[in-house]
C-alpha cells in the first residue's frame, strides 16, 4: 500500500473513533443463537385484541421489546417500519412489545414516528413477557423462524432496514 493511502486510512480510523464518541451508530448485525422454542407471547394490541405469537407460525417474526422513553428504541423504530414495508409481504412479521406504558403514551409516540408503524404494537403492562423472554435491557429484539424457534437476537438499537439485515430475514422466510 502506498504511504499516502496508509496515512489516509489512519486519519479515517481516527475520525471513526471520534465519531463513535459522539453517538453510537446503529449497526445491522443479528446474533445467531442455538434455536430454541419461542416462549409464549399472548398480549393485547392497540385495539385490546389479543395477539398470539403462535398464530404467526409459518412466518418469520421480529419481536422487538421497547419503550417510548428508551432512546435507542426511539431511534430504531422508523427502521422497523421501513423494513416491515419492504419485506412484510415476504412472510416477515413484526410485533413491537411495549413495556409498562399506557395506550395514550404509546399512541402519542407512534403518531410522531416517521414512518408511523403499521405493524402490531402489543402491551406488556406488567413486564411478565419481558421476564419470560429473558430480556435484560431495552431494546432487545428476537427473531423467530417459521417453525416457531428463536434463532437470532439483537441487544441494543439496530438499523432494521439495512439491506443485509432484510436479506437475512427474507432468506429465513424462504425467499
Amino acid at each position: 500500500m502506498r504511504p499516502e493511502r496508509i496515512v489516509a486510512a489512519l486519519l479515517l480510523a481516527l475520525g471513526a473513533v471520534a465519531a463513535a464518541q459522539e453517538q453510537p451508530p446503529l449497526t445491522h448485525g443479528l446474533t445467531a443463537v442455538e434455536p430454541y422454542p419461542a416462549p409464549e407471547l399472548v398480549l393485547e394490541d392497540m385495539d385490546d385484541d389479543a395477539v398470539d405469537l403462535a398464530s404467526l407460525r409459518g412466518n418469520v417474526v421480529v419481536i422487538n421489546f421497547w419503550a417510548t422513553w428508551c432512546p435507542p428504541c426511539r431511534r430504531e423504530m422508523p427502521s422497523l417500519e421501513r423494513m416491515h414495508q419492504a419485506i412484510g409481504a415476504q412472510g416477515v412479521s413484526v410485533l413491537a412489545v411495549n413495556v409498562g406504558e399506557d395506550f395514550e403514551t404509546v399512541f402519542g409516540f407512534l403518531g410522531a414516528v416517521d414512518p408511523s408503524p403499521t405493524f402490531p404494537v402489543l402491551f406488556d403492562r406488567d413486564g411478565a413477557a419481558l421476564q419470560r423472554w429473558g430480556v435484560r435491557g431495552l431494546p432487545t429484539t428476537f427473531i423467530v423462524d417459521p417453525a416457531g424457534r428463536v434463532v437470532a437476537r439483537a441487544i441494543g438499537g439496530r438499523e432494521f432496514d439495512h439491506p443485509e439485515l432484510m436479506q437475512r430475514l427474507s432468506a429465513l422466510a424462504g425467499n
Binding site: P3, V7, L10, R136, G156
Partner: protein
Amino acid sequence: MSRAAVKSLLPILLFALAGAAHAAQGESVHPDTGARTWTTAAHGVTFSLTQILPDQARAFYLNRGFGVKATEVYATACVFMTILRNDAAPGVLHYELDDWGVMHEAGERPPLSFDYWNERLAAFDLSDPALLAFRWAQFPPSQSYQPGGDWNQGMLTSGLASGERFDIVARWRVGGRDYEATLEGVTRAS
C-alpha cells in the same frame, strides 16, 4: 504529499491510533443542555457516561408516576446515562455492574445497584408501572454482548455529592480474560 512528510506523520498517527484503540478519552458538552459526555474506547468496547441534569431526571420520573419525594431522592443521586457497547471485542463480553468501580477521595465502590434503589424506593409506595419504568430505565445490572454492536443505554447513579470528581472503571470478561476501561475526571451535573 512528500515522502518526507509521510515519514514524519506516520509515527504520530500510528501512536495516536494505538492510543485511541486502547484508551482514548473524549469529552464533549451538549450545546443546548450543557450536559457533559465522557467517552472512551478500549479493547473493542465503547464506554461512555453523559450527565443527566437533575431537572431532566425529575421530568423523567415525575412523568412516570413517581411522587415528588421519590423523584428528588433519585434525581439528586448523581445520575448518568451510560453506554457500553461491544463493537469489536475478541468475543462475547459479559459484565456484572457490581464489579465496576467508582473511585473518589473516599476510595472505590460499585455504582449504586438496582437492589439498593429497590429498597430505598420501597418507602415511597410507588405504583407497579412506575417501578417497572424505573427498573428498565436503569443500566442493566448484568449483561452479555456479542461483538458487532450489542449494547445498552441506561441510567447509572454514583451516589456522590454535587461537585465531586471521580473516575469510573467498567470491567468485563471476554473468554475468561478480564478487561477494563476507565473514564477519568467525571463530574456530577449540578
